[in-house]
Amino acid sequence: MVGIVIVAHSNKLAEGVRDLAQQMVQGKAAIAIAAGTDDPANPLGTDASKIFQAIDSVYSDDGVVVLMDLGSAILSAETALDFFPDHQKENIYLCEAPLVEGVLSAAVQATGGGNIESVTEEARNALNAKTSQLGIDTTLKDAEQEVHGPADSTQEIVLPVRNKLGLHARPAAQFVSTASKFKAEIFVKNLSKNTDFVNAKSINQIITLGVRHGHQIMIAAAGSDASDAILSLNKLIDSNFNEEENASILTPLSQKDKGVRESKQNRNVLEGIPVSSGIAIGNAFIYRPVIPDVQEYGITDIEIEITRFRNALDEVKKDIETLQRETKKSMDAYDASIFESHLLYLNDPALVDHTRDIITEQLINAEAAWETALKEMINSYKSIGDQIVRDREVDLIDIGSQVMSKLTGKPRTHPDPDEPSILIAQELNPSETAQLNPEKILALCAEKGNKTSHSAIVARSFGIPAVFGIGERLLEIEETTTLIVDGNEGIVIVEPDNDTLKTYRKHQETDTAAKQKAVTRTLDKAVSVDGTVVGIMANVSYTSDIKYALEHGAEGVGLFRTEFLHMNRTTLPSEEDQYKVYKEAADLLGNRPLTIRTVDIGGDKPVPYLNIIKEPNPYLGWRGLRYCLDQIDVFKTQLRAILRAAYDRNVLLMFPMVTTVREMRAASAIINEVKQELSQDGYTFNDTIKIGAMIETPSAVMMAHRLINEVDFFSIGSNDLTQYVLAADRTNSKVATLGDPFDPAVLKMIHDTIVVAHNAGKRIGLCGEMAGDRLALPLLLGFGLDEFSMSPKLISEWKEALRSISAIKAKELAREALQCIAADDVKHLCSEFLKDI
């Protein structure tokens, strides 16, 4: 049973209230009292430790509702709450109801078996009986209190709201935008729900009115342009917010057939781009950000804090405006206007001014103030209990977490699903994907994105099926809906029938069986049917991946990324820290090669302590080797660590994003300096370490014949090379089809580079996505590539594929492919080639 605690200044008062309530319920309620002081001379007062004991005496997991008289009673009750551990605290409600009526109602509800929510709710409503008995018109009183200005200038209008959505989402945004154009003070209330007046210029407050289709609202305005304001708002409402047939956003998928393909079996099928193969069956988990708990700390300079806050808001506004512009190009104006409501949140006085007030008054940091303002707003949404209003919470959290991320400089936080599930996301950015827990994810589905987006690469490296670029319809799927994700075909089946499920379960089994077979032979050499042997290397980011890679047949590491060593921290990793990591990695590999790539960070993944900030054009910006050559300290620290770890170990060194021969020479000069310094410092190091250049830019390809003289080996980074050759940003889904590594332009570049390396008698590998793509296998084999470096997960199946291919025939295929004019033609050739086997 829910417990009740009465907190009052006077013990007599509390006892009286208790007796009154117990009389109603024959003494069955669990009521405790914390009232008065222990000082007989001054008996009136409250005491937090008494309140703590009282709550404790009636506490159970059913919850406790605390009713207080006034003033210190409230402060003491809040203080008492702090003495409880969090898991108990959340079951204790401090209720604002009037004491006598509240305790009575709570007692009746609690003894009737009500839960904590209903007991609290009942207590809150306790005043209604008195109000109506006395015939008090609360509407009138509110209007007098809330609408300022002389009464004769206040203009009012009562209107029915007839559009489908009511005052939510876009209509709410349009309403607030219109109201904000006027100087007049404008207030609105929902007459149908008997709410108080709220500020018409606050999106959050408008949403809390919970105005649905058919409700009556009253608008009151005071000020010089009050009548114009009322006229405009009247017009807007009369026009039904130009909603017409567009109001489909909230219609559940099952009731909608527009854009959903109905096949013979009558199933809902969503189509997208297949980015990672495999089949998954499971429940949908909607991947949404949450507001993280942030550290609160005191500040002394209010100005600095407010400026930080304002900058964060501005950055998010800019992001949204950019997105809005991009979206407008491809969608109709109505759809893009959803961003307007996002922008309104960022201008809402109820959030923004409130945050500023918290910073100024409580002298706390912007993060903590923003968190408080957001959580207060979210709670007020929650307390309304209207589903549509609660849906707006998602928008608020979306915006809130974006601002928080700008403030903290950390990626947004998302909860993991409890059960392994199919993740439904709008878009997955690299920092967010990096946080995913692969064990909890059966498949990835995203509204945006494509084959080359970073998250697709991660999905493939996890071996998780993924379909991207599905479009807006994806986001209509509700949590826990059963889904089939077919990463081979690029489709998502919503609520499949039993037959479909059966068919796909069979597919899954065949898939698994084939994988099993490949795994048993994975440690065998990678050799073609006619005896050509190639090197199979692993791409890894952490030393912990190396064991797995070796078990899956890797012959070494062709790409050891060092970005993760440098990200998600606030200071440079020390030489010693890095040395330990590199040494450990090399030792795990025994005498197999470890190819370490120096840090490859740029403006797409900002790292404040490395001076890497967001750039408008990060892929053409300050990154890779260019960055290292400018940041000598960062560069030298890493080189020292690598050279030391390479002593007596099979470690190779390579540089990312080499653009010019001079850069390569500058890097070599720095290596020589570092070697000198190391020997002066008395360290042992590898004096003859092999050095490689990554071939990722068209300029490096064109100058490969000169570059090769500067290095011992080449490694082609096919992902970046593709985006630079075709001038197609790989994070932009609109140009995804253009940025195809099978494009003959890219293939020519790869082919020519291989020829240059071989003519100089040097080895060449490829460590991009393409290396693990089975469709590209015969092509690259035909070009004569020496080394394929890929995600360890892909190795066993890749080796298995190689075992059935003839290198001689692959050479013919390669020759033919170079004659093609389009990526599709090449892919067609390759799949025909593989089919014949």
Binding site: N42, G45, A48, G298, Q362
Partner: protein, 210 residues
């Protein structure tokens, strides 16, 4: 630099100053509240003194925590949870330290002030404790950050607190019992701001006799 003995002296001096000004505080409260602030604070600090012997050998955090708990459970009025929270939060900021640097002194007072403001959901201008306490603590912090001697910094803080007390006179109360009076609360000095000033004055005296 403040030792654990200085802290004890501060608390004892606070108790003395509160006792000496008990009637004055109650008179101030009679004009705009429930005429109990002086009695309440005096009762609270008497309880603090009674418990002080038990913790005087302990670290500064434990001493402050004991002060906070004593106030929370004995003052009776809103000042109990407010000053109680002030000392508890201050205690959290210093933990098990045996002595505090000048910067740490400013920081622990600031932490306590944040706690008190959060508890009361109040801001400067509401005619409360905050009107003298907050500007004074900020003044202290600024002077210490500027490298000034702690005695001089604290002297400036007390001057600012006194000014804050005076500034409450024209204000209309927006928090606490006085807020029930609305406009009629203007023209009276706030008893809470006054007791906060006394506690800061006590700290200055404790530091001076170091």
């Amino acid at each position: 630099m403040l030792s654990q003995n200085d802290i004890i002296r501060w608390i004892k001096t606070s108790a003395t100053l509160i006792a000496e000004n008990k009637d004055h505080l109650t008179d101030l409260d009679r004009a705009i509240g429930d005429a109990d602030h002086g009695n309440n604070m005096d009762r609270g600090f008497k309880k603090v003194l009674a418990q002080l012997d038990g913790v005087k050998e302990k670290d500064i955090g434990s001493i402050l925590k004991s002060v906070g708990m004593a106030l929370i459970s004995s003052v009776g009025g809103a000042a109990g949870p407010l000053y109680g929270t002030f000392f508890m939060q201050a205690a959290n900021a210093v933990n098990a330290k045996q002595e505090l640097s000048d910067t740490e002194v400013a920081d622990f007072l600031l932490a306590g002030t944040h706690g008190l403001i959060n508890r009361g959901k109040t801001k400067p201008g509401d005619k409360t404790i905050v009107d003298s306490l907050q500007p004074a603590v900020i003044t202290l912090k600024e002077h210490i950050d500027a490298g000034e001697d702690i005695i001089e910094a604290m002297r400036q803080a007390v001057i600012r607190a006194e000014q804050g007390v005076q500034e409450t006179i024209p204000l209309v109360a927006r928090k606490g019992r006085a807020s029930y009076l609305g406009e009629r609360s203007a023209g009276h000095q706030d008893p809470g701001a006054t007791s906060a000033y006394l506690i800061l004055q006590a700290l200055l005296e404790a530091i001076k006799s170091h």
